[in-house]
Amino acid sequence: MMASGRRRGGGHVRPGDRGFEGWAWLFMRVSGVVLLFLAVFHLLWMHYVIGVDNLNFQTVASRWANPLWRLYDFALLAFALVHGMNGLRMVLEDYIHRAGTLLTVKSVAYVLAFLLLSAGGYIIFTFHVPA
Protein backbone atom coordinates (compact mmCIF):
# COMPACT_ATOMS: atom_id res chain seq x y z
CA MET A 1 0.00 0.00 0.00
CA MET A 2 1.01 3.67 0.20
CA ALA A 3 2.09 4.51 -3.32
CA SER A 4 1.07 8.10 -2.88
CA GLY A 5 2.54 11.52 -3.50
CA ARG A 6 4.16 11.75 -0.09
CA ARG A 7 7.45 10.11 -0.92
CA ARG A 8 9.67 8.66 1.75
CA GLY A 9 13.21 9.84 2.11
CA GLY A 10 12.74 13.59 2.11
CA GLY A 11 10.24 13.96 -0.73
CA HIS A 12 7.91 16.95 -0.60
CA VAL A 13 4.26 17.42 -1.23
CA ARG A 14 3.92 20.81 -2.88
CA PRO A 15 1.14 23.39 -3.16
CA GLY A 16 -1.12 22.40 -6.04
CA ASP A 17 -0.42 18.66 -5.75
CA ARG A 18 -3.50 16.55 -6.39
CA GLY A 19 -4.69 13.32 -4.87
CA PHE A 20 -5.15 12.36 -1.24
CA GLU A 21 -1.73 13.54 -0.09
CA GLY A 22 -2.16 16.89 -1.85
CA TRP A 23 -5.48 17.50 -0.13
CA ALA A 24 -4.11 16.25 3.19
CA TRP A 25 -1.24 18.71 2.82
CA LEU A 26 -3.66 21.57 2.14
CA PHE A 27 -5.95 20.48 4.99
CA MET A 28 -3.06 20.66 7.47
CA ARG A 29 -2.38 24.29 6.49
CA VAL A 30 -6.02 25.37 6.48
CA SER A 31 -6.94 23.58 9.72
CA GLY A 32 -3.66 24.82 11.20
CA VAL A 33 -4.74 28.43 10.65
CA VAL A 34 -8.23 27.67 11.99
CA LEU A 35 -6.72 26.07 15.11
CA LEU A 36 -4.37 29.01 15.50
CA PHE A 37 -7.54 30.89 16.50
CA LEU A 38 -9.79 28.16 17.97
CA ALA A 39 -7.20 26.26 20.00
CA VAL A 40 -4.90 29.11 21.07
CA PHE A 41 -7.86 31.26 22.13
CA HIS A 42 -9.36 28.32 24.06
CA LEU A 43 -6.02 27.59 25.77
CA LEU A 44 -5.33 31.21 26.75
CA TRP A 45 -8.92 31.88 27.83
CA MET A 46 -9.17 28.79 30.04
CA HIS A 47 -5.74 29.33 31.59
CA TYR A 48 -5.50 33.08 31.97
CA VAL A 49 -9.03 34.49 32.00
CA ILE A 50 -10.92 31.76 33.88
CA GLY A 51 -7.96 29.93 35.42
CA VAL A 52 -7.66 26.14 35.54
CA ASP A 53 -8.26 26.01 39.29
CA ASN A 54 -11.60 27.81 38.86
CA LEU A 55 -12.90 25.35 36.28
CA ASN A 56 -15.69 23.07 37.46
CA PHE A 57 -19.03 21.60 36.47
CA GLN A 58 -20.72 24.98 36.96
CA THR A 59 -18.36 26.90 34.64
CA VAL A 60 -18.84 24.41 31.82
CA ALA A 61 -22.62 24.26 32.38
CA SER A 62 -23.01 28.05 32.22
CA ARG A 63 -20.84 28.18 29.09
CA TRP A 64 -22.84 25.47 27.37
CA ALA A 65 -26.10 27.26 28.19
CA ASN A 66 -25.19 29.16 25.02
CA PRO A 67 -25.42 26.87 21.97
CA LEU A 68 -22.79 28.92 20.15
CA TRP A 69 -20.16 27.78 22.67
CA ARG A 70 -21.21 24.18 22.05
CA LEU A 71 -20.70 24.79 18.34
CA TYR A 72 -17.31 26.42 19.04
CA ASP A 73 -16.23 23.48 21.19
CA PHE A 74 -17.35 20.94 18.60
CA ALA A 75 -15.51 22.79 15.82
CA LEU A 76 -12.41 22.85 18.02
CA LEU A 77 -12.77 19.14 18.80
CA ALA A 78 -13.28 18.13 15.17
CA PHE A 79 -10.50 20.29 13.70
CA ALA A 80 -8.02 19.37 16.44
CA LEU A 81 -8.72 15.65 16.26
CA VAL A 82 -8.60 15.37 12.46
CA HIS A 83 -5.48 17.59 12.28
CA GLY A 84 -3.84 15.55 15.03
CA MET A 85 -4.79 12.21 13.51
CA ASN A 86 -3.40 13.20 10.13
CA GLY A 87 -0.19 14.23 11.89
CA LEU A 88 -0.10 10.89 13.67
CA ARG A 89 -0.65 9.12 10.33
CA MET A 90 2.39 10.90 8.88
CA VAL A 91 4.51 9.99 11.90
CA LEU A 92 3.41 6.32 11.75
CA GLU A 93 4.15 6.14 8.02
CA ASP A 94 7.59 7.60 8.65
CA TYR A 95 8.61 5.12 11.32
CA ILE A 96 6.70 1.87 10.64
CA HIS A 97 8.01 0.22 7.51
CA ARG A 98 6.22 -3.13 7.56
CA ALA A 99 2.96 -2.79 5.64
CA GLY A 100 1.02 -5.21 7.84
CA THR A 101 2.11 -3.55 11.09
CA LEU A 102 1.36 -0.11 9.67
CA LEU A 103 -2.14 -1.15 8.63
CA THR A 104 -2.84 -2.62 12.07
CA VAL A 105 -1.56 0.39 14.02
CA LYS A 106 -3.38 2.84 11.74
CA SER A 107 -6.62 0.87 12.03
CA VAL A 108 -6.45 0.90 15.83
CA ALA A 109 -5.66 4.64 15.81
CA TYR A 110 -8.59 5.44 13.48
CA VAL A 111 -11.04 3.40 15.58
CA LEU A 112 -9.87 5.20 18.75
CA ALA A 113 -10.17 8.57 17.01
CA PHE A 114 -13.70 7.74 15.86
CA LEU A 115 -14.69 6.75 19.40
CA LEU A 116 -13.17 9.97 20.81
CA LEU A 117 -14.97 12.14 18.23
CA SER A 118 -18.25 10.34 18.97
CA ALA A 119 -17.86 10.62 22.74
CA GLY A 120 -16.89 14.30 22.54
CA GLY A 121 -19.67 15.17 20.10
CA TYR A 122 -22.18 13.23 22.18
CA ILE A 123 -21.45 15.09 25.42
CA ILE A 124 -21.23 18.50 23.72
CA PHE A 125 -24.65 18.18 22.10
CA THR A 126 -26.57 16.14 24.68
CA PHE A 127 -25.33 17.73 27.92
CA HIS A 128 -28.30 18.96 29.89
CA VAL A 129 -27.68 22.19 31.78
CA PRO A 130 -29.19 21.77 35.24
CA ALA A 131 -31.76 24.38 36.23
Binding site: W25, M28, V40, L43, V52, V60, G87, V91
Partner: protein
Protein backbone atom coordinates in the same frame (compact mmCIF):
# COMPACT_ATOMS: atom_id res chain seq x y z
CA UNK B 1 8.33 16.08 4.78
CA UNK B 2 7.37 19.61 4.04
CA UNK B 3 6.95 20.48 7.69
CA UNK B 4 9.94 22.45 8.79
CA UNK B 5 12.63 20.93 6.58
CA UNK B 6 16.05 22.35 7.35
CA UNK B 7 16.87 24.72 4.53
CA UNK B 8 19.57 23.35 2.32
CA UNK B 9 21.56 21.51 4.94
CA UNK B 10 22.88 18.11 3.97
CA UNK B 11 21.35 15.18 5.82
CA UNK B 12 24.46 13.92 7.51
CA UNK B 13 25.06 12.51 10.94
CA UNK B 14 28.33 14.33 11.28
CA UNK B 15 29.15 17.33 13.44
CA UNK B 16 31.13 20.24 11.98
CA UNK B 17 34.27 18.47 13.15
CA UNK B 18 33.25 15.25 11.50
CA UNK B 19 32.33 13.32 14.65
CA UNK B 20 29.16 11.25 14.63
CA UNK B 21 26.99 11.19 17.72
CA UNK B 22 24.76 8.44 18.92
CA UNK B 23 22.08 8.55 21.61
CA UNK B 24 20.30 11.77 22.59
CA UNK B 25 22.98 13.98 21.09
CA UNK B 26 22.66 12.11 17.81
CA UNK B 27 18.87 12.51 17.82
CA UNK B 28 19.31 16.25 18.07
CA UNK B 29 22.05 16.58 15.50
CA UNK B 30 21.73 13.83 12.93
CA UNK B 31 20.25 16.11 10.30
CA UNK B 32 22.11 19.00 11.78
CA UNK B 33 21.09 22.52 12.50
CA UNK B 34 18.26 24.55 13.86
CA UNK B 35 15.75 23.53 11.18
CA UNK B 36 15.95 19.89 12.19
CA UNK B 37 15.58 20.75 15.87
CA UNK B 38 12.47 22.84 15.12
CA UNK B 39 11.03 19.96 13.07
CA UNK B 40 11.67 17.50 15.92
CA UNK B 41 10.09 19.75 18.58
CA UNK B 42 7.11 20.43 16.27
CA UNK B 43 6.52 16.71 15.89
CA UNK B 44 6.91 15.89 19.59
CA UNK B 45 4.65 18.81 20.54
CA UNK B 46 2.02 17.61 18.06
CA UNK B 47 2.03 14.09 19.49
CA UNK B 48 1.87 15.47 23.03
CA UNK B 49 -1.11 17.70 22.19
CA UNK B 50 -2.92 14.75 20.57
CA UNK B 51 -2.37 12.71 23.72
CA UNK B 52 -3.72 15.53 25.89
CA UNK B 53 -6.71 15.93 23.54
CA UNK B 54 -7.64 12.27 24.15
CA UNK B 55 -7.39 12.81 27.92
CA UNK B 56 -9.39 16.05 27.67
CA UNK B 57 -12.21 14.38 25.71
CA UNK B 58 -12.34 11.70 28.40
CA UNK B 59 -12.54 14.24 31.25
CA UNK B 60 -15.21 16.33 29.51
CA UNK B 61 -17.21 13.14 28.82
CA UNK B 62 -17.48 12.74 32.61
CA UNK B 63 -19.77 15.79 32.66
CA UNK B 64 -22.48 13.33 31.69
CA UNK B 65 -22.10 11.56 35.05
CA UNK B 66 -23.15 14.65 36.99
CA UNK B 67 -21.61 17.41 39.05
CA UNK B 68 -20.24 15.25 41.85
CA UNK B 69 -18.32 12.84 39.62
CA UNK B 70 -17.00 15.62 37.35
CA UNK B 71 -15.83 17.93 40.14
CA UNK B 72 -14.18 15.20 42.19
CA UNK B 73 -12.19 13.96 39.18
CA UNK B 74 -11.27 17.51 38.26
CA UNK B 75 -9.25 17.71 41.48
CA UNK B 76 -6.75 15.66 39.47
CA UNK B 77 -5.93 18.82 37.48
CA UNK B 78 -5.42 20.97 40.57
CA UNK B 79 -2.47 19.01 41.98
CA UNK B 80 0.93 20.74 41.84
CA UNK B 81 2.34 18.17 39.40
CA UNK B 82 -0.60 18.87 37.10
CA UNK B 83 0.43 22.54 37.02
CA UNK B 84 3.89 21.45 35.93
CA UNK B 85 2.42 19.23 33.19
CA UNK B 86 0.26 22.18 32.21
CA UNK B 87 3.39 24.20 31.43
CA UNK B 88 4.38 21.48 28.94
CA UNK B 89 0.93 21.74 27.37
CA UNK B 90 1.19 25.54 27.02
CA UNK B 91 4.74 25.13 25.66
CA UNK B 92 3.58 22.55 23.11
CA UNK B 93 0.52 24.43 21.88
CA UNK B 94 2.29 27.81 21.59
CA UNK B 95 5.37 26.28 19.93
CA UNK B 96 3.33 24.16 17.50
CA UNK B 97 1.11 27.16 16.65
CA UNK B 98 3.92 29.65 16.04
CA UNK B 99 6.21 27.17 14.27
CA UNK B 100 3.28 25.95 12.17
CA UNK B 101 2.58 29.51 11.11
CA UNK B 102 6.20 29.85 9.95
CA UNK B 103 5.92 26.60 7.96
CA UNK B 104 2.75 27.87 6.25
CA UNK B 105 4.39 31.20 5.36
CA UNK B 106 7.43 29.35 3.95
CA UNK B 107 5.27 26.92 1.96
CA UNK B 108 3.18 29.61 0.30
CA UNK B 109 5.96 32.18 -0.13
CA UNK B 110 9.04 30.02 -0.83
CA UNK B 111 11.20 33.07 -1.58
CA UNK B 112 11.38 33.78 2.18
CA UNK B 113 13.38 30.56 2.51
CA UNK B 114 16.52 32.60 1.72
CA UNK B 115 16.11 34.05 5.21
CA UNK B 116 14.88 30.87 6.94
CA UNK B 117 17.34 31.17 9.80
CA UNK B 118 16.22 34.75 10.46
CA UNK B 119 12.59 33.63 10.40
CA UNK B 120 13.36 30.92 12.94
CA UNK B 121 15.08 33.41 15.24
CA UNK B 122 12.16 35.86 14.98
CA UNK B 123 9.82 32.97 15.69
CA UNK B 124 11.78 31.95 18.78
CA UNK B 125 11.73 35.52 20.10
CA UNK B 126 7.94 35.73 19.60
CA UNK B 127 7.54 32.31 21.21
CA UNK B 128 9.58 33.25 24.29
CA UNK B 129 7.80 36.59 24.70
CA UNK B 130 4.48 34.74 24.86
CA UNK B 131 5.58 31.54 26.59
CA UNK B 132 7.74 32.85 29.46
CA UNK B 133 5.06 35.04 31.11
CA UNK B 134 2.48 32.32 30.44
CA UNK B 135 4.64 29.70 32.18
CA UNK B 136 5.42 32.09 35.03
CA UNK B 137 1.72 32.73 35.61
CA UNK B 138 1.09 28.98 35.94
CA UNK B 139 4.06 28.19 38.17
CA UNK B 140 4.24 31.24 40.46
CA UNK B 141 1.23 30.15 42.58
CA UNK B 142 3.16 26.96 43.45
CA UNK B 143 5.62 28.95 45.55
CA UNK B 144 3.08 31.54 46.54
CA UNK B 145 4.31 34.38 44.33
Amino acid sequence: MSDGAAGGRPATAASPRGATFTGPRGWLTYRGGLGYLMWAIHRLAGLGILLFLALHIADIFLLGFGQHVFDSLLAFYNAPWAHVMDVFLVFGVLFHAINGLRIIVQDFAPRVMIAERKLVIIELVVFLVVFLPAAWALLAPLWGA
